[in-house]
Amino acid sequence: MLSRATLRSSTSAVSCLRCTQRRSYAAASSASVNYEASEAAGTKLISKNIPGPTSTLALVAKAGTRYQWLPGLSEGLANFAFKNTQKRFAVRIVRETELLGSQFFANRTREAVVFGAKFMREDLPYFVELFAEIASETKYQQYMIDEVINPTIDASAHKFFASPAQIALETAHSVAFHRGLGNSTYPIPHLVAEEVEAYAAAAYTKSNIALVSAGVDPSELSKWTGEFFKSLPSSAPSSLPSLDAVKSKYYGGETRVAHTGGNAIVIAFPGTSLSRGSAYKPEIDALATLLGGQPSIKWSAGTSVLSKVVAANPGVSISTNSTQYTDTGLLNITISGPAKVVAKAAKEAAAAIKSASEGSPAAEDVKKALAQAKFKAFDAETADIPAIDLIGLSAITGTVQTSEESLKAIAGLKESALKSAAKGLFSGKATVVAVGDLSELPYAEELGLNV
């Protein structure tokens, strides 16, 4: 039996829990945007203060496919991370990181080349040193490309070309943005080591990189960065082309690609730039959740505008994404499945988008979309580092903005703003890409879209 005193203390404990919960909610929403920007030895640092025994550290270089002067250079650069350096062999790097119990990763996006690691907090100096070594002392050896990099690139190329949805999204970018952001990201084998080396010299300079970290003591990071990144050149040799991109412009249009491995249609509209920039349009993000297509509950089609189309066309899958870049974005809707179903679903989806944008969307849908967009934005902030590449790029290209502003913007988004954003959408020029059985897949004109 519980004594009265225990009961009293447990009730007070519950009320106390409630109040700390309330308090911790408020604290969490402000703690989640606690980024600290600094500079050490000319290198930009961004640290997110989160408690815990593990850390994430990543080096972001403004050298994605958007900036490459030959196809495949970004891919090559990302693949050369953690390979032989002047000081140690790749095997040593792998074994040492294994002994420290850490994981490393390297990838490239349209705008950035990112490599990084997750490790125990006390191992920070080892990784800062390693990253500096990779940036300035990697040996770009042709045999490394022939023996190690080409097979992985070949494999990812196979994977890419087997996926109509990926090809469609890729083509949509080139149709929407032409050069720069529209540069192809698909992996290209047969790289030349000297070319990658030249690209690395332009990419890994103090003014072109940022170190992004989470769970790292900022003063420690700045101390070790100052020590190890001293020798990194502050700017690229003048003989190399510069990595400055022309401002993106949206073109739009239509392209059709024959493919025997499946069917996909991408319908895209101009989107919003990254959520840390001044040109952020939260209503576009909300619009993406309004259109939706992916269920938020398992085993159901969902209830968003496009989810209703999915429910009516078994076998089709639709997803809407608001893809963000530093100066622009692409709101893209991918429809994939069997050709006949995709064709039917695409027509219904276009009609649904049209009625949602030209008529007024149901008030309930709008409320749901706003709530979901808000949740998505806040939920993303709970990750160690949400969108490493975008945070790094925002630091490289301008001042680092905390996500506080954008979270506020999306939290305070009005229904009217969403409705007016939807209105503008359909009247503008769309990007439509069909990949698959072209005899079945509809043209943009048949979808009633303006290209």
Binding site: F89, V91, L99, Y143, D146
Partner: protein, 131 residues
């Protein structure tokens, strides 16, 4: 034992390498290497490295296509000359400045990497006590 130091190139390399700037020793080394006779067949010292093992095979696979073609050409010409008991005319023979190490750096790197792998396999890890 490093492979490329086997055979009669070992001595001349040992002489030539550490004192590359000493003109007397360099010219002595050149004289010895010329006396070895492979230059008269149009070969380079690195052509004489036995290739029937994994390390050298891997090093050969890392040569550029041009280097690889030239090597095969020199070897075939050398065999032909040897069979015919001929020497190349003096202007076609390998000049000392042409006798470069095109293969041994690759071998040295592969051996170093293998050694490193063996060392890491045998490593005993001791973590520093937390202060």
């Amino acid at each position: 034992m490093p492979l490329f130091t086997k055979g009669y190139t070992a001595f001349t390399r040992a002489v030539a390498k550490p004192v590359a700037n000493s003109s007397l020793l360099t010219s002595m080394a050149n004289a010895i290497q010329s006396a070895a006779g492979y230059r008269a067949l149009g070969l380079r010292a690195d052509d004489l490295i036995p290739e029937e093992n994994e390390v050298v095979q891997k090093a050969l696979s890392r040569l550029s296509p041009q280097e690889h073609y030239d090597r095969v050409f020199r070897l075939r010409r050398g065999f032909q000359l040897s069979l015919a008991h001929h020497l190349l005319p003096p202007h076609e023979q390998t000049k000392p400045e042409e006798d470069i190490c095109y293969l041994s750096p690759y071998i040295a790197e592969i051996e170093a990497e293998n050694q490193e792998r063996e060392d890491l396999d045998a490593v005993i890890v001791e973590r520093k006590a937390k202060s």
